[in-house]
Subunit: 347 residues, 2 copies
């Protein structure tokens, strides 16, 4: 089944939820253009989510996907936090930051009962999770709210596990994808798989609609994924320069230079995520053994990011990007969607 | 231009040269079936190459691709060799191997004037290089022999460089590919790119025919690559179970289990290459800082491989494999080629 049928939308497109890079404006624009717009909710409080949903309801009745993280919160470890701050110490000095004044803690909380309550009230059409799924009781509350449920798989084993939990569709997240890897059964980055290899294997291993994500940025890529049997495609990076995107000017400029390589890094959050290689990634190594687990690394690097960005410098900013940003265009998202799907045979 | 025109063949297919896994039999079978068969020459002496070419000439007049390595030979470093052997010491003990009796040295030599002499005599249709290109004088001898020249690019920068040196086509080697990564300008594995992202970017950046390699294993994958603008596809792993393949029974069994993950490892040669994760990769870490540079790591691990394989164990064998082995079939290569291209529109 193609995702047009699954979600009641016009195009086989999901706009990837990108926490920190977008708000409801992008989701609404893509939804109105015929795709499935996504609202990243991992950094929202329940009250903020309610407000976003009210504002979405006011302008569109198209389906919207709400995306939550379902990671297990690690216990914070004072020793580890200290090692991480020691690692960043030279930068604190450079920017005159007193690490004693930096609060630790998490900026991204996993999906919980308070959020489930919001879903029960607003009954969104689609809910997607990143990092596996919430515990069964929570998942049941989502299901009972009438939401179609998606999650990402980075391996065949993860896809099979998701199918067993009863999701309605699987996002095959190839390692080309920007932002956080959604892995939850296997964290060995060395064995993460590219889209063109992952997609057919997940399609063969499960009976669910499989959405291709990672490295798809143009009409040919979309057609190729559909030809390989994808039920739809999920594009994120391609929307980052759109008018409705909320990224910084620094991030925007980095995306415009097609030559900057990307790498998986855990420096900005503790979890492996793909971004454009910048100073802190180059100097500390993109994957640092000193970084605390997701999402605890963010607190200590946040003030550096803020201080550097004030000077117009992205040395400490997560410049999330997939491996293919050739499709990025500085236009309204609806125009980009129309362009990408022009002449494409409907499913 | 599609590679059918470029090489005078029937199908947009290159059988990937796989040193150590095949000889002329596979190349001949694929050539006769309409693709471009490849003979890996990096582990042959000039005399052995002459013998292979004579035997090929005796049975087919179809174009064949001769593949050479064009790495720079590193100077062997006694201290490094010692560190590498120390790393392997517990295994030597287990297998009763006396490391004093292991010769060091290289099993893979770069393309040189002696090989160029062979090309001048036999004038093969196509020569492909891995790890960049040989020095200009050598390359000119290949060109003067009337050979079409190919090499692999793992980044857009490498593709541009190859175009500047005047190659006739570029193999876009996505990181899904099995065996050795062909990188030569940038060895940072963190920034290596998946096929679905790499292919369109190299196509956009150069004016040459671009062949898609990595993760392509079935008809849909082939069609997808061609739709994205590839001039042809290169498949390697998919041929490894064919009757003409020369891999060990151990390698064969590992390939048959679709669940074994692959990783890039430098343990077997010193160069990063993709293979199925086995004991030595798991225990030493797939990328070991103790391994000497390519191709010098092979000498010390070779006796372990031999001893283990004698006991039917692949713990020290390079089990080369790409990330998608769903297309592997234990049939004659011609049958596999016919199956893969059945009904495919000719270019």
């Amino acid at each position: 089944m193609r995702i047009e049928q699954l979600f009641g939308i016009d195009l086989p497109l999901i706009q990837a939820p990108m926490a920190g890079a977008q708000d409801a404006a992008l989701a609404i624009a893509v939804a109105e253009a015929g795709g499935l717009g996504s609202l990243p909710c991992a950094m929202l409080t329940p009250d903020q989510l309610r407000a976003e949903l009210e504002s979405i309801r006011a302008v569109t009745d198209k389906p919207i996907n709400l995306n939550f993280f379902s990671h297990t919160m690690p216990t914070s470890d004072a020793g580890q936090e200290q090692r991480w701050r020691a690692c960043l110490q030279p930068y604190y000095q450079q920017y005159g930051i007193d690490p004693e004044k930096i609060a630790s803690g998490a900026t991204r909380t996993p999906f919980d009962h308070k959020m489930a309550e919001v879903l029960e009230k607003y009954r969104p059409d689609v809910v997607s999770f990143h990092f596996g799924l919430p515990e069964p009781e929570l998942l049941q509350r989502v299901r009972n709210s009438g939401c179609k449920i998606l999650s990402s798989a980075t391996t065949v084993a993860e896809a099979r596990w998701l199918e067993q939990q009863g999701v309605d569709g699987i996002i095959a997240q190839g390692l080309e994808a920007g932002g956080h890897r959604g892995f939850f059964l296997n964290s060995d980055l060395n064995t993460q798989v590219g889209t063109i290899a992952l997609l057919p294997q997940i399609i063969a291993a499960t009976d669910l609609p499989v959405i291709a994500a990672g490295g798809i940025a143009d009409r040919a890529g979309i057609k190729a994924a559909l030809m390989m049997g994808a039920a739809g495609v999920q594009l994120g990076t391609t929307f980052l320069l759109c008018d409705e995107s909320r990224i910084s000017e620094i991030h925007r400029q980095a995306l415009l230079d097609a030559e900057y390589p990307t790498a998986l890094t855990n420096i900005f959050s503790g979890g492996a995520a793909r971004g454009i290689v910048n100073r802190v990634m180059a100097e500390l190594g993109a994957m640092s053994s000193s970084a605390p687990p997701f999402p605890l690394a963010t607190a200590a690097i946040g003030p550096l990011r803020a201080a550097a960005e004030q000077q117009g410098v992205g040395d400490f900013s997560p410049l999330w990007s997939g491996q293919n940003r050739t499709g990025c265009r500085s236009v309204p998202a609806a125009e980009l969607v129309n362009y990408l799907f022009e002449g494409l045979e409907r499913g």
